[in-house]
């Protein structure tokens, strides 16, 4: 199973992609549903780049998957950000640590240009963010001119979906000057507000997203703007019945 999340192209022409893949295709039962994260790099001719990871592929096994209701939660990946020197940030998720936990937490990993985990970033190369017991949905990350990283996504708990932004320092530590407790989960609508991407507008942060202000029904395209410190917002709602 390959379900690609993101692709980036480096200035030197390499193409890098990230995706969740099966943890063990020989497993049976629920264990067969467990997933890891795979990062693959191709050279300019479309061949796997043998100088990256193992034969062009890096596998990341961050957690053991678990059943959650009728679903199965395992490692997942959505975003990939190219850094200077062809280093990479992978934006994904892992099963939360702790007894009985079946929800997904944010997981941001840094890889070097050779595909090795950069253990100087965060804690042994990994930053996790656990927002309550709701399932978190990591999406993308951008690098500010000051080399801080802003990560976007949303979190779901008891039927309410809330957008999430958090900012990291270049070494993978949370930026205490950003938002509330280094992150900025904001309930912009009473029920659903999902964020899928973030971009810089000067020093401010623009989110692309959709949502609805009722418990059921159609959703609308929305954008939101956060100030550079993660506080203060404005929003637009496009009631264009596209969905």
């Amino acid at each position: 199973m390959e379900f690609l999340g993101s692709v980036v192209s480096s200035p030197t022409g390499q193409i890098v992609v990230v995706e969740p893949v099966e943890h063990d295709t020989s497993a049976t039962g629920d264990a067969a549903r467990d997933t890891d994260i795979a990062v693959a790099r191709f050279d300019t001719t479309g061949q796997l780049d043998q100088t990256f990871g193992a034969n062009g592929i890096v596998r990341l096994d961050l957690s053991t998957g678990t059943v959650s209701g009728t679903a199965f939660q395992g490692d997942t990946a959505w975003g990939l950000t190219l850094l200077s020197g062809d280093d990479l940030l992978v934006v994904g998720g892992k099963v939360a640590d702790g007894p009985g936990r079946t929800d997904i937490d944010y997981a941001v990993m840094k890889l070097t240009a050779t595909g090795a985990v950069d253990r100087s970033f965060g804690t042994n190369g990994l930053v996790t963010l656990d927002i309550g017991t709701g399932t978190d949905s990591p999406r993308t990350a951008i690098i500010q001119p000051d080399e801080k990283t802003v990560v976007s996504g949303h979190t779901s708990n008891a039927g309410v979906v809330t957008i999430v932004l958090f900012r990291l320092l270049p070494d993978g530590q949370f930026d205490s000057s950003f938002g509330r407790a280094q992150r900025s989960p904001r309930r912009l609508l009473p029920f659903i507000a999902e964020a899928y991407d973030v971009a810089l507008q000067g020093e401010n942060l623009i989110l692309a997203r959709y949502g609805r202000d009722t418990s059921a029904g159609t959703v609308d395209i929305m954008t939101a703007r956060f100030l550079a410190d993660g506080t203060g917002i404005g929003r637009t709602v496009m009631k264009a019945s596209l969905f």
Binding site: M1, E2, F3, V7, G13, I15, T25
Partner: protein
């Protein structure tokens, strides 16, 4: 430089009978761009990356006729986490 697309929208069947999807796109400084997603072969999804030129044509110098695929985990599991 003004670009002329041959068609505004074009489909690209990677496999003839099963599901193909692109989920991401990236551009390059050389006016090429990449679309990435998956193609399904024998009920197993494979990662797929296609390279296009500035006119929207597949760049056949990339991968196999413009498309590179890889199956990291061989297995017929058609579910994923979001």
């Amino acid at each position: 430089m003004a670009l002329t697309l041959k068609r505004e929208i074009r489909s690209l069947p990677l496999s003839t009978e099963e599901t193909d999807c692109f989920f991401a796109v990236a551009s390059t400084t050389s006016e090429r761009y990449y679309a990435a997603g998956f193609t399904t072969i024998g009920d197993d999804t494979h990662m797929a990356v296609a390279r296009f030129g500035s006119t929207g044509d597949l760049d056949t110098s990339f991968g196999s006729n413009g498309i590179a695929t890889v199956n990291v985990a061989v297995g017929a599991v058609k579910q994923w986490n979001s």
